[in-house]
Symmetry: D2
Subunit: 357 residues, 4 copies
């Protein structure tokens, strides 16, 4: 289904080559100042054609708000927005109308719905994430008021791993390079790796790390809507994501309990933990420490090279797509990861208002 | 919040040392035969005291159904059930009333709710998963009718890794040993590792792998309720889980697209894929191949040794818990993982009934 | 489905002759003192056998709370409760197993579910409202803290109409008589009317009026969850209800706009309205004036006299039910109406916490 | 909140003088042919300026679909649409910016949200029902495939009552006159009554009756989402509605049970009821008979005459609105009532797919 969130709730619409992508944000409190430049800038961080390592498609992706904002502020009413689709070379896809591209959603959409808009992936296109970035930008504005910051960066491309934890990085450097890795030396190696993939008409995957600071203790709704469960749900709903881990994650399972436990200590600013294997969440509720997590992105399925497959009539066919596609989704995934994290947190911020008398 | 699922929907209740744990299953179709022995047996797979490597607490955990079943069949009405709590040494916890145990939910519950039932972890206790196992057992009965099987097993304990993929294992052997690893040799090493942890008054984490077979193409509800996103949400909501990956997962992000793509082929039984890095899900919808995933469990936070912490008055204190606790959650987590997977699938089975005219 | 409310949310379970009726209340804030005597007393107002004009079945209906309350206070965790069914003369219903009683749910349940628990109406029995009264009592305790009172009374039985608006009545007299009409003279005529129906082995319908005082301006969630829309939804979900109107209701549609409009005036206690045709709700949001509404209850379908009907095999048959049944549902409906109103208001009280920054 | 329906789900957006009114329909099955002319025609039935007894504002209200439809058919993906607002004399409302118009939502919106878009009523304007009519038209197309028809008509204007039940009327005549009453003689009297109100700068209320035919037995989801409870919820959410009754309604409460019960009979087309006081719904589930109901609309609050009130600073002021407003909402309410009924039924049609194995 196409709604996300309990209170701060995005409903998303749009196909890649339809008239528009957009959505409705319900449940945003009234009185929030909407900084349109900030929102457009967030969209620009996601858009294609922004650098030599992303697709050269030119999608300007201008957001138009249709409701919910009056005299620059939210009204407590639903905030609708659209981004018209342009630059659609829909006919590029004619040859693919009845073909099941490997590791795409062509086959499963046909099986589920009996029909599909084949142009540019239709609803299954990552172009849909535009709606998430707009809603995420609004959520960021809401969270900023309560001191919460959300930052993501590329921590691995293929085998090129950023070897330091976020605590040893200067996250303000993330936007200083086109791959969005805050360590310049690693960033350059990642860029080279992506360019290599592009030259090979191939693609490469990797990992985005998210870091959230300023969340007070108390956000999260056990037993099912634990903060990290909603966060993982949000991340796994992003196109191409294959895994999610938070805090110590998969590696932490190799530690013994005595190594893994985060001992509580008394500090000048109150109760804190000495270590943070918990990733800022205990029992599904934030404990005031930093929240951090990793999101795994598979290599993009669209290859600009020959591949065998079958078509809807079950004939064996060979495809060799043309066009302008990303060799690596990671750099453009950074604002999407941040946006979904922001929506989750905005929702939990509001949900937490009801827990005490 | 305490409900899970859109249509096949579990609402769970109960604290560890309250009167009962239980739940209500809404949305189960009418006419399903309820095999009470099967359900009780699933609960027995989860219960404490079942082997030398689990806690020796004796909790018999008898389920009583209160509604929704008549003459052995579901009625389309809500199915309520309870498991009364017994053998509660609540006074064991008196010393911990105002103490924040490291990496437990004590601190965050107090921060969120201003109060908590400290006895045995209260609502944050894994004892709550009893409700999930009962609902999961009902879901399994529903899914069995449509040919879906769900099997989980322990694939890693600490550093002891089961080195084979599920396709090279005989999953019928999972229940042949107390650690629930289908490879006997590895199982023995895992058991030794858990016993070692127990001797050290320490704990150890690991990984549970889930395998689902028989799901037809078409289950999953993009764009947010992708089948793997709901599956990850379900797993991350289980106590002690720190990560989730499906199909090729985190490792798959190291492959190039040409290595990772699953080529469609024509077979006697219709369209299939040659490889299955997709883990049976493409674009968030099942494609008819096996679904498989990994779930990371941290080492249990309760250690039977001295630890430093602070209490509610922010005094520094030392705790040294007594009692009967698991040194490793993995063996008992297997039926819980299966149960949550079953609930997710039952829900998507029903949701998929509405997609076509 | 069997859940009611967005935040303060009741999930109800139970069949008339099953093991228990009960429910789970999710979303009640932590820290609320639970007055068990008050809750049991609310249940007693609903129970059969409380007077000569209600059924003489003796159902003691003792509530047992299973979770969510610790040391007398709510914990922010789900509050589960059950009321065990007793005094079940299930065999009384054997003759009715395959018969469709006129204006009951026998036929429609079979058509919908293909099966039904025929004993005492099964899930369609008004005995299910026990769950609502318990949840409503908890909601009343929550609302009392913010100064909201909820009172209902019987304003018509058959043709016997209480001729005064609530503003001219002493609502503290409602419980002074067995029909729950605050005007003693009218009450006596109503009682006589119900006794007459009983003597005729017939039944009689009527109207319950609800009055809510102390709701501040601002509760209600347009455009769909208008306060009166949720209130009407709640009332129409009660067994035997055929209509709902609030404020000026159906009669108000006969007025002209200039007669009907509630003029705003300035008073010592702030902005008020001169009249209250709006029934305390404007644009779906409370305006601080009293909320009042009427609920129409049909005459109960169970008659202790011969009636023609057909059975499941489409044979024409004659039924002549025995047993102990109410000749009029109205007196016992009063606490049910209050309870559903309380649940709606508790929900909106909490929802309204999110509307402003 | 701004979403309606469980499966077939409309999320609505837009303020009266904002950029657009619109919505997203989620959960419509794939493969439904979309007749755009039919949908536009439904909108035209709702639009202002269509006759001498409605407002003379000229709002062309052209719907544009943005997603979810490909090659003329639904895709199972969200169907977004917008209707751009035109002809906005926003400055007409400058004088009313800080004034609380009697029986409007001005005061309550300010109390709830701390802000409001005052132009033309903002979000509280009945212009929002455009979104409902579009979604209702899609729902009608879906229901038509399964033989369900939905018809509404004006049955009372002020005191002018249509004296016959729907069974004695030719509903195909509803659209033959501008007041949408199928009895021509009564229609003429209603038109005269509305013209009289207009001449007096006053307004008049009334009743719309809805009739639904062709619903098979089995739709409706007890215990809370009874078919008539969802129907009443839908109707009470329409602007200016003060009451809802179905079947025998308020009047039926005057009957004795033996008069009111609908006896089952055997017919050539299966089990039917002899009478239909139940209004086609028993126990909250359709029984195959016609569903019929009444909806009470208050007289419109906007009067083109002088009225006293107060403003935001609590000054006593006099207002005397100018502009083009309806003297009676009833004729234009007919398609809105039908639309909400259609959305409710489409939702229950889909929900009912999950009740049996």
């Amino acid at each position: 289904m196409n709604s996300f969130g309990q209170i701060f709730r995005l409903t998303s619409f749009g196909e890649s080559h339809g008239k528009a992508i957009g959505g409705i944000i319900d449940g945003c409190p009234a009185g929030l100042e909407i900084d349109l430049d900030f929102i457009q800038n967030e969209l620009n961080r996601r858009k294609p054609g922004q650098s030599k390592i992303t697709t050269q498609r030119d999608e300007s992706d201008q957001v138009e708000f249709l409701s919910g904002i009056f005299e620059g502020k939210t009204q407590g009413t639903p905030i609708a927005f659209q981004i018209r689709n342009k630059d659609q070379h829909s006919s590029d896809y004619n040859d693919l109308k009845d073909v099941f591209r490997p590791s795409h959603a062509d086959y499963t959409y046909i099986q589920k719905y009996g029909t599909r808009d084949h142009r540019g992936g239709g609803r299954s296109s990552a172009r849909e994430t535009i709606a998430r970035v707009v809603a995420g930008a609004v959520a960021k504005l809401l969270l900023k008021r309560v001191g919460v910051s959300i930052q993501a960066y590329v921590s691995r491309v293929g085998e090129i791993q950023l070897g330091k934890p976020y605590t040893e990085l200067d996250l303000s450097q993330t936007e200083s390079n086109i791959v969005r890795c805050p360590d310049v030396e690693t960033a350059n190696r990642m860029i080279a790796r992506i360019e290599e993939a592009g030259r090979n008409h191939d693609t490469v995957g990797g990992v985005v790390t998210g870091v959230i600071q300023g969340v007070p203790a108390g956000w999260g709704e056990p037993v099912f809507n634990k903060l990290h469960a909603d966060m993982g749900f949000a991340m796994l709903g992003i196109n191409a994501v294959k895994g999610f881990e938070y805090g110590s994650g998969f590696d932490g399972t190799r530690l013994s309990g005595s190594e893994h436990n985060d001992v509580f200590i008394k500090t000048e600013t109150g109760v804190r933990t000495k270590t943070n294997h918990s990733g800022g969440i205990q029992g599904g509720i934030s404990n005031g420490e930093d929240i951090y997590f990793n999101v795994a992105f598979k290599p993009i399925a669209t290859l600009l090279k020959e591949q065998n497959t079958v078509d809807r009539a079950e004939n064996e066919v060979t495809i060799n797509p043309k066009g302008r596609h990303d060799p690596c989704v990671l750099p453009r995934a950074v604002p999407i990861v941040e946006s979904m994290a922001a929506i989750v947190l905005a929702d939990h911020y509001l949900l937490n208002r009801i827990n005490q008398l």
